[in-house]
């Protein structure tokens, strides 16, 4: 039975809306840290239920289409991809909430050092999330592969942040509590990069039918 084009478009539209919310949650959670505005962080935590609602709604819609339309070929790959993407988006939302929680805690204490690499990581992972979803919507495997490559940049920054904070903590143990929270934030951002990479890998499968997860970079 045919899955109507409108049904697939509706699914795409919901995923785009969910991705927009997720992207905003990353931006605001990091902004609340950098600008030391805890109300913004509270807002990110309060809005997470909207992301969760999309997660449930998209899953239900996908299962409905699988049950009633028994899609095949490209449609089947599109719908199974959508199910996987929502899971990653939902986890990214949770990571943003974690960042917001740490931001609220850090904002209550004196500034340890100006944030430079964290906002950079935030911008990169927001771009990765946006591009991975654009790649999905436009069935663009080339863009998806670019996302996968960018993940290395995020990993490198996370490593740098970790090393820098280790140095600070060794010199002055009174910074440990704050420094550990910042390393957490860096790690959450790194995880967001991983989720965006998962999405991009799934998009390559959807477009080309080729599973590239767990492959070495030169194999993808």
């Amino acid at each position: 039975m045919t899955v109507r084009i409108q049904e697939l478009e509706h699914l795409k539209e919901m995923l785009l809306k969910m991705a927009a919310l997720v992207e905003a949650s990353i931006r605001y959670s990091v902004e609340s840290l950098v600008e030391r505005e805890s109300e913004l962080a509270q807002q990110v935590i309060a809005d997470d239920h909207k992301i969760n609602a999309y997660d449930v709604h998209i899953d239900e819609e996908c299962v409905r289409l699988l049950a009633l339309k028994q899609p095949m070929g490209k449609d089947l790959r599109f719908i199974t991809t959508a199910i996987k993407i929502t899971t990653d988006l939902e986890r990214i939302g949770d990571n943003s909430v974690n960042i917001a929680e740490r931001a609220i805690e850090l904002n209550k204490e004196p500034l340890l050092k100006p944030y430079i690499d964290i906002p950079r990581m935030s911008r990169i992972v927001q771009g990765m999330v946006r591009n991975s979803i654009d790649a999905f919507v436009n069935e663009d495997a080339r863009l998806a592969r670019e996302v996968i490559i960018r993940d290395d940049e995020v990993d490198d920054l996370n490593e740098m942040v970790w090393k820098e904070l280790m140095l600070i903590m060794t010199k002055d143990p009174s910074t440990v509590s704050r420094a550990v929270k910042i390393t957490y934030i860096s790690k959450y951002l790194e995880r967001i990069g991983d989720h965006a990479t998962n999405i991009a890998e799934t998009v390559v499968y959807m477009v080309e039918g080729k599973i590239i997860r767990h492959m070495l970079p030169d194999q993808i």
């Binding site: 039975m1 045919t2 899955v3 028994q70 070929g73 449609d75 089947l76 790959r77």
Partner: protein
Amino acid sequence: MVMSHDDIFETVGKPLLNDGRIKISCRNVNVYYGEKRAIKDVSVDIAEKEVTSFIGPSGCGKSTFLCCINRMNDTIKDCRFEGNITIDGENIYDRTMDPVLLRARIGMVFQKPNPFPKSIYQNVAYGPRIHGLARNKSELDEIVITSLEKAGLFNEVKDQLDHPGTSLSGGQQQRLCIARAISVQPEIILMDEPCSALDPIATAKIEELIDELRQNYTIIIVTHSMQQAARVSQRTAFFHLGSLVEVDDTNTIFVNPEHRLTQDYITGRYG
């Protein structure tokens, strides 16, 4: 894409096998009904003891091609065959090949169950009797019972073997036809939309039966239900306007087909 009946498509996927499992080998098959070319240069191998599905829209040539394999097309006036089909390496269009004996090796099941207007027992016994497969009554009884058992029908009809075959339900009649087909110990079973006249429960029984039968027989099934092709077959062939567009493992055809036309057909965006 503008398509006409003159188009011929190069077959993509894996039409030819090279792993020694070949039961039926078809090369450059063309079939004409008068001037009309109904099958266009089809080359494909059918694997032994496996189910192969033929799918495609009405008029694509899948039933015509099926009927080439047991030479049913011989009986159609104005139908002309070109090319080569071998079963176990033996050319079935050879002058010395007796089509009647060939059809004993190849059972056929049709869209509508068509039991003979005889008893259940006689429906199954008829073939073995005319082919001389039983020396006496007890051997014939044995063949009838085994065939009905293999067709998953024996337990339902064992107390009414003398009742007319036509007294059974549609699904039972179709299983009776399968029992009749296997009673002459064929190597190949051709099925032309065997479930299209059946309800979902009878369909499920036939599909389970097909899955069991493939242990002993090479099966080709023509079906309009893509879900059925996906459920019962190991390889699937997609026909379009007389050409064989794509053949591959069933999983590949329904998850990630190579040809655009196959993609359009299985997602229902065809034509």
